[in-house]
Symmetry: C2
Subunit: 368 residues, 2 copies
């Protein structure tokens, strides 16, 4: 692993002080901001996430706020998901597409009220697309990045921990719903959501100054729950089939290729700028799709470039995320596979950098 | 310095193999791509850049291509610089602004022909803004990121080196002009430009497969010129007053605040979406502006967050880039300073992290 040169451009977060004190060993850069990737070791962090509770600085999930009379109209222009049934208090996975149906981001939409939304984004400057569209269509809407930094609490003991800080009523918040909770006299949005399958919450920390007080309050309250600083875990997210925008898909891919067809209501999502382009895809289906892939043999290296998936001499896809899974005792991976080879239990080869060929098997479902 | 976790999302470049073999010691992430920051040491790289010639992997300067009948119209919508006089074969610094006049990027525009432009971008997903605007205004234009990765040749011996590879006619290319030159039977755009004040060229490598052959050809041809792999140098760029988008300015700032007023023809840049917002700024002038700042005392640490500039108890600005300059034997810095304190030789204080207060002086011109 190489060193990262610090600069203001790689933004710190309201929780950086806590992350550093907890001994973050490595980072990635996500939305031009620092995201820790390892505390003790990826394997130790993984085991602990599955058994206890972690506090994650996911400030990099920047918010794009839409506010004003045309906010709802604009939100629908961005996604092929039909948003008519969404109520304030709901979160929703919304694939966002350009005019060609290519994925621009795969965020969680937070509907605060009929005329106010947060889009909690993956790694792309979505703000610029939304501002450009709003400007071009002359919509009456404010589009901005507010001073909101999500802090995630993840793991089987997450509910107990947040209840100690925000009160027992937080236990009533259902999956992908949110409520408003008090912290130090300030009103915070807290959703039952997060980038793991271990259960937990995301706190939308509305104000930089609240960052370290909340971090410290959670660490203090969770001492006997074995709370630790953590971060999205490479192994757990692959086992769970949680895609990473920029790794597993990008503008080249449609939502259907990403297995997000269930979030597309292309027929009825009237107004979506990518709707025309997606209508045929929605009808015919994609010709390649995201799949779980088990790669045989010993632990693979970190996947820093696409690894070709081969059937004999033909490339039939690529692996874009991979890690050794201690629990499943195989290399778990995410890849895009052509329809000729995407059926469950299809045997393929994966070409590692350096030329090593590894037998691999395509699966229909992920591990968790 | 912390470690960086590799992933596909942090894209490699056509030259990564050469960069790694040359022993890059640290990187930053820029436009979701790896940019080396140090080879031997920042000081050794600096000395060598000023005395010899370096080859820089600046693939991170991604291109946004505009092509089609409305390409020129769209280009003018993006910038307050009046582009009517620009001819094919010219490069131009063009501040790009949103509808509020806030800087979205400070790229070099390459006018390939009347209906085809490359925008060679700084660190923001400008593609998304341009696509959004083009979509909203229903312009007849293709907007895309082509497979073009700039390779810079910088330093006093740069002209001699590129002449050996591309022929002596490259010596006739004037500053901020470009020509078409042959390499391995392929036509490449080569401009006299680059992110240093030591002179040099940028080769727009049009096709990933040409990357390493060109890298190797330059290294081979420049052996007796003491050619080395290099990268934009923190010390040299600050001495030279070369701003870094995301470090020294962002969407909060107008071009006039960034000292780019000379590139704004706000009265005549008809069509620029930020024109209305900038008319008053153009008339009244900004109330804060980029300045060169010399910070006294021993070498300052790396500037990873804004450092307040104080006049007594009042904050009058912030430093956003700083480094010790061996040649000028002071800490050179770039900061944004309020008009009350921006006159040359104004004495201020700079607050370093940890609370140390350093005397500093504001200058009107940079060092190189």
């Amino acid at each position: 692993m190489a060193l990262i040169s610090p600069s203001r451009r790689l933004r710190r977060t309201p929780f950086s002080e806590g992350v550093e004190a907890a001994g973050a060993k490595a980072y990635t850069v996500y939305n031009r901001m620092l995201l820790p990737t390892v505390f003790r070791s990826v394997e130790e962090d993984y085991r602990h996430l599955k058994n206890a509770v972690q506090v994650w600085d996911v400030s990099v999930e920047r918010q794009v706020e839409l506010r004003g009379p045309d906010a709802g109209k604009l939100m629908q222009m961005l996604t092929p998901r039909d948003l008519r049934g969404m109520l304030p208090g709901q979160c929703a996975s919304v694939p966002l597409v350009d005019e060609t149906g290519g994925m621009l981001n795969d965020p969680v939409m937070v509907k605060l009220s009929e005329d106010r939304f947060w889009i909690s984004i993956a790694d792309s400057d979505l703000l610029l697309w939304v501002k450009g569209v709003a400007q071009g269509f002359r919509l009456d809407v404010l589009v901005d990045e507010p001073d909101v930094s999500p802090l995630a609490v993840q793991g089987p003991r997450a509910e107990d921990l947040v209840a100690r800080v925000f009160g027992d009523s937080i236990r009533d918040v259902r999956f992908f719903r949110f409520g408003h909770f008090d912290f130090m006299g300030r009103d915070l949005v807290v959703a039952r959501s997060g980038y793991s399958k271990q259960g937990g919450f995301e706190i939308y920390v509305d104000g930089w100054d609240l960052g370290m007080p909340l971090w410290n309050a959670l660490m203090e309250a969770g001492r006997d729950l074995d709370v630790h600083a953590g971060c999205p875990n490479l192994i757990e997210r692959i086992e769970s089939g949680l895609l990473s925008y920029g790794n597993d898909m990008d503008r080249e891919n449609t939502p259907h290729e990403c297995g997000l067809g269930r979030f597309c209501n292309t027929q009825t999502a009237i107004g979506c700028v990518g709707r025309d382009a997606l209508l045929r895809v929605a009808k015919d289906g994609p010709t390649r799709q995201i799949r779980a892939i088990a790669i045989e043999g010993e632990a693979v290296p970190l996947c820093d470039r696409p690894w070709p998936i081969m059937a004999g001499q033909s490339q039939v896809g690529q692996v874009t995320s991979a890690a050794w899974s201690p629990d499943f005792e195989t290399n778990v991976a995410i890849g895009m596979v052509r329809m000729t080879h995407w059926d469950p239990f299809t045997e393929v080869d994966v070409l590692l950098p350096g030329g090593e060929v590894r037998p691999a098997t395509v699966y229909a479902v992920f591990w968790n």
